[in-house]
């Protein structure tokens, strides 16, 4: 997939995860893998520039908190602006999905 498109899609997925609770980067990667049955197994380092860009856009905020193990982790929290961004991206995605389905559905009809 085109890298830029992938980044846009990934940022939507990350925001979706953060909509539920505040998470740190590694936790998000694991959660994405789990929920997508390993389909979204990104190069893990690429997650952080996306998170930092979202922070630049004020869609997320970060804070540090010590985990149970004692290790300090940087948690991300979705802002109100992030929620709006997620809604916009989800709408775009739905429109895209419907368009793809229409085209693919039409193609199957012809083939059948």
């Amino acid at each position: 997939m085109d890298k830029k498109l992938m980044a846009v899609g990934t940022s939507m997925l990350l925001l979706k995860l953060l909509e539920e609770k505040d998470m740190y980067g590694y936790e998000m990667i694991r959660e994405l893998e789990k929920r997508s049955n390993q389909v979204f197994a990104l190069k893990e380092g690429t997650l952080y520039p996306i998170l930092h860009s979202l922070e630049e856009q004020e869609a997320v905020e970060s804070y540090e908190k010590a985990a149970q193990s004692g290790r300090r982790r940087k948690y991300y929290h979705m802002t109100a602006k992030g929620k709006k961004l997620l809604d916009a991206k989800a709408q775009e995605w739905n429109a895209y999905r419907e368009a793809v389905q229409t085209v693919m559905g039409g193609a199957r009809f012809v083939l059948c």
Partner: protein, 521 residues
Amino acid sequence: MSSVKEMDSGKPAAVDTAVSESGKNESARKIEEFLEEVNEQIRYKPMRAAIDEELKGHIEDKTELYKEYGLEEEEAVARAVRDMGDAVEIGIQMNDAHHTRIYWPLMGMALALMVLGVAGNIRYFWNGTLDIWFLNDVIAENLYFPAGVVALLVVLRWGYPFVIRYVNKICVCYLVFCGFVFLIRFSSGFLYDILKGTVFAGRLLSLSVYFGVLILAAPVLAVFLYRQRHKGVRGILYAGLFTGTLLLTQVFRMYGDYLSMAVFALLATFFAVLLYMAFRGYMDMPVKKTVGVSAAVFLALLLLGGIFRPDNSAIELFLTPERHAGDLWEDGYNGVLIKELLGRAKPAGRADISQEDLYAYGTGKWYFSEGGPGRWEGIQTLEEMEAYLNQFYQEDTVTLENILPQHYQNNYRIAYWILKYGWLPAILLMGAMAVFGALLLGVSFHIRNRLGCLVAFAGSICLIIQYLFYFLGNFGYQFGWFGTLPFVSEGKTGILVNAVLLGLVLSAYRYDLVMEERMHV
């Protein structure tokens, strides 16, 4: 639990938990190499440590997972690092997300306002010939504009990191300096007389320097308040105590009531920053409680600063200038005269005032003559004053510039524009300054970093308050000592102080994307 080999090939892995020391070193080296490659792409070096820590934490978590699957330390680290992806690409993308920046609209408008100020000064001193006197005046009066630009650029580059790094030391310096000035003036005989005679101390103790000291305390106070946010009521009281100490000279009216505007700007910043922190949820106590305590301390400080003192001459001058209009040189008369003249201004073009009326305004006859609204209290008689003024102009030669208050090019720049060019052009220029104020607030609230936002907010409040009070003064409502119209009117301390304030606003914006919260606390 599945093993890593199951993940890769579906076969169980052989587990060996013994880790050699050399293996550990090799693992650490691999992580360091990866982080170094990322770092090489990040131009703003202070940002590197925070990025390192986050990426390193991720690698360590993933390493733990691989070790749980049965891999040895070295192999686990190698895989964890490999899973991260291309270090250079990550570094480049991180650098894109973290770069310093300049808010050009604000910078451009400040420079445009300065050009307007310099042009006004040149016009004021223009005597029709390009002689040595003209050049001397123009250079002397405009020297602080380029100095202001230099101060702006220096503070833009280093100001914000400096303030947040050394805020405790800056606060101590503030207390020492204010204590020193207070003691010297309090001794009001021996020490004051000795020091007043010296150039350095004389300047140090001057009204304009103390004005600058109070105004520049506002961004420092914002940092101080932010750092007290977890201390509840105690934190607000500490900040109140710090601010109150800066106002000691005001308690004893050592500068009269001239500094009332600076005191008001500082205290308005105190209250506004606390309100902002309360409503944004930065404080560790309920919003209502924060607002209540902040308002109480704010009012107490206003009382301490003498703003509500019944005989505060700044308030009197502001509300009832005619009570302070006993002769042509009193500030109250300036307010009365300006109000009268503005009533004759036209929507566009020069105010239509006859030579006879101009002369009456200049000599004060319109106000102080028998039947006029004012009462002459000057040392000289009104006739003696007229004879004195006749050295400079007669009824047939008097001009608008002759009759305006002294230093009108500094203190009444707006009123002068209205009288000379009409209301519409002047309103346009005031509109441009309102846009400048809106940009200041806009950029402050655009800063994502909490402390950066507060520092910029504090600087913006002080600049906007100066504009507001200057505008009011130009409509005949002068409050305290005449400040400058930021970046436009001539001044020395005023230009430098405002350049520093704007520099801090722009500096907080500049470092917004490259400074993490942890760097602030």
